[in-house]
């Protein structure tokens, strides 16, 4: 059964993301919509504040290199086997972006606070690290469930991204998006004001009616819009659908060492719509 093509494309969704938005992206192994990141580069988005959930990868480096980003909050930025993220490092050195370092479970916990509708979550660890020292928004209090004076513990404020960009495997007629076991994408969706999703394909029916598919779904309740983007996670992996394109990311890492090389990469793979259509 073939469904009608929906009204949205990655570029039409990217047009709805305002400059300056707090924009959340899962990392390279967990379903980021790289198709939407490329569309944001094409639309010339500015001053985005990126959130890595809980770390950042290829799409973050691409958006930084294209001048779309003012700030990154994350627990690490890396291209995996291809090494350090070159445009992130260059922008930090040039002073054109600020980075707010976190640590992985802190980002999960801040999103979970929003998911539950409470003002903060507590997290062990962190005390004595310079990450905490550089986060005036994180507070240390004596464990209020203890004797009230000892056992210091860190409180993290609830965090609600303006927009989350996720690439799922499929979406159904009810607007549910299937992400499999990557449940951090579900927490992210629950905690975000808006979720824009791309998917490989549309399927008929309602996956929440299927006991085997329902546990891997993000309910359509949380999804604002879906566009089809085949190979929309490329060059990163999508579950068991396709593998990480290590050769392409290595080529990116090589080109993105210089501003000129990065511009060449954008021309070839992002701004050129025909090449883009062929890749996706």
């Amino acid at each position: 059964m073939t469904l009608r093509t929906p009204e949205h494309t990655p570029d039409s969704l990217a047009a709805t993301v305002p400059d300056g938005a707090l924009l959340a992206l899962p990392p390279d192994n967990s379903l980021p919509s790289v198709a939407l990141a490329r569309a944001l580069v094409r639309r010339g988005a500015k001053r985005l504040r990126l959130l890595g959930v809980p770390v950042s990868g290829f799409a973050t480096d691409l958006l930084i290199g294209a001048g779309c980003v003012a700030e990154v909050q994350t627990s690490a930025v890396s291209l995996g086997e291809a090494g350090f993220a070159p445009r992130f490092s260059a922008a930090l050195k040039a002073g054109t972006i600020t980075v707010r370092d976190a640590t992985c479970p802190a980002i999960h916990s801040m999103l979970q606070a929003t998911e539950k509708g409470v003002p903060f979550m507590a997290l062990r660890g962190l005390i004595g690290s310079d990450i905490l020292r550089n986060r005036p928004d994180w507070k240390v209090v004596p464990n209020p469930m203890g004797d009230g004076v000892s056992d210091p513990i860190v409180l993290l404020p609830a965090l609600s991204p303006d927009v989350a960009l996720i690439h799922g495997v499929m979406a159904d007629e009810a607007g549910n998006v299937w992400v499999g076991r990557r449940r951090e994408c579900a927490t992210l969706a629950h905690a975000s004001q808006r979720v824009l999703a791309t998917v490989e394909r549309l399927v008929p029916g309602d996956m929440l009616e299927d006991e085997r598919l329902a546990p891997g779904c993000i309910s359509g309740t949380y999804i604002e819009a879906v566009a089809v983007a085949e190979r929309g996670a490329w060059p990163v992996a999508l579950l068991d659908e396709y593998a990480f394109d290590a050769a392409h990311v290595a080529e990116y890492a090589r080109l993105a060492k210089t501003e000129a090389g990065f511009a060449e990469y954008l021309d070839r793979y992002v701004l050129n719509q025909q090449a883009q259509a062929a890749a996706e």
Binding site: N29, L92, T103, C104, P105, I127, S129, D151, R181, E184
Partner: protein
């Protein structure tokens, strides 16, 4: 066939995992880009010890069903017994710097180099009963007197909740053991070709030395056979370049 350094390091890590003086390792998690610690864990398992391995960043499959937060939730509860950490800088008090050198946050216009970031280290180092530090590069650039930035501290003030810290630091040149009471490393063994003097020359921090420092033992024939056979089989998909380089085995196309 000569013993490769990677094989020696994997066998050395496996012995540390099995150290009877350390808390038991029933469930071990291994992070990204860690083929040598992963090989060490497989060696423990293939020797018949009952251990659950959660290997993050497998290319296919995944040890968790609740997303990447599950590792941290398990660790928060004390269900992960052992984890491996490294660092762009490691100092003599076992402080780790995975953030960067120079002024915070590293690699700023004022200078220094930015490393990727802390990942989960600022939590895992506290909440795991023991951590084995592993960094193959042994140089004064990495092993410094004092890290520029602390992404995870080696020891904590009294009263701060902490299950454990570094058990040992394994490098390409030697093994250090760590005393949390004294917040200090001592040289446990040197790999072949190294001496106390050569270790001192390559290390930026001060450490204790016993009167007689042994050589790190060679892997046994049985350990080498496991590493080159069934362990290579297990690792081929996730670490193809490592297996090709160390075990001379290629993934079938």
């Amino acid at each position: 066939m000569t013993i490769k350094l990677e094989e020696r390091l994997a066998a050395t890590l496996a012995r540390l995992i099995l150290d009877p003086a350390a808390p038991p390792a029933r469930h071990i998690a291994v992070g990204a880009a860690s083929p040598i610690p992963a090989a060490a864990c497989w060696l423990v398992k293939k020797q018949g010890h009952p251990v659950r391995l959660s290997l993050l960043h497998k290319r296919s499959g995944n040890p968790f069903s609740e997303g990447s937060r599950e590792l941290f939730d398990l660790t928060g509860q004390g269900r992960i017994d052992l984890f491996f950490l490294g660092g762009g800088q490691i100092d003599g008090q076992a402080n780790l710097n995975l953030v960067g050198t120079g002024q915070w946050p590293g690699g700023s216009p004022q200078g220094g180099v930015r490393f990727p970031g802390s990942f989960g280290s600022a939590f895992m180092y506290f909440m795991t009963p023991r951590t084995i530090l592993f960094r193959e590069e042994h140089s004064a650039r990495v092993l410094v007197p004092k890290v520029d930035n602390i992404s995870a501290p080696g020891v904590s003030e009294p009263g701060v909740f902490r299950r454990g810290t570094a058990q040992a630091l394994v490098t390409g040149k030697c093994v250090f053991s760590f005393s949390p009471e004294r917040a200090r490393f001592s040289l446990a063994s040197v790999h072949p070709g190294e001496t106390v003097e050569s270790i001192r020359a390559a290390t930026g921090f001060d450490f204790d030395v016993a009167d007689d420092v042994p050589h790190t033992p060679d892997p046994t024939e049985a350990e080498l056979a496991l590493l080159r056979g069934p362990i290579c089989d297990e690792m081929l998909e996730t670490y193809p370049e490592f297996c090709a380089r160390v075990f001379d085995r290629k993934l079938a196309a």
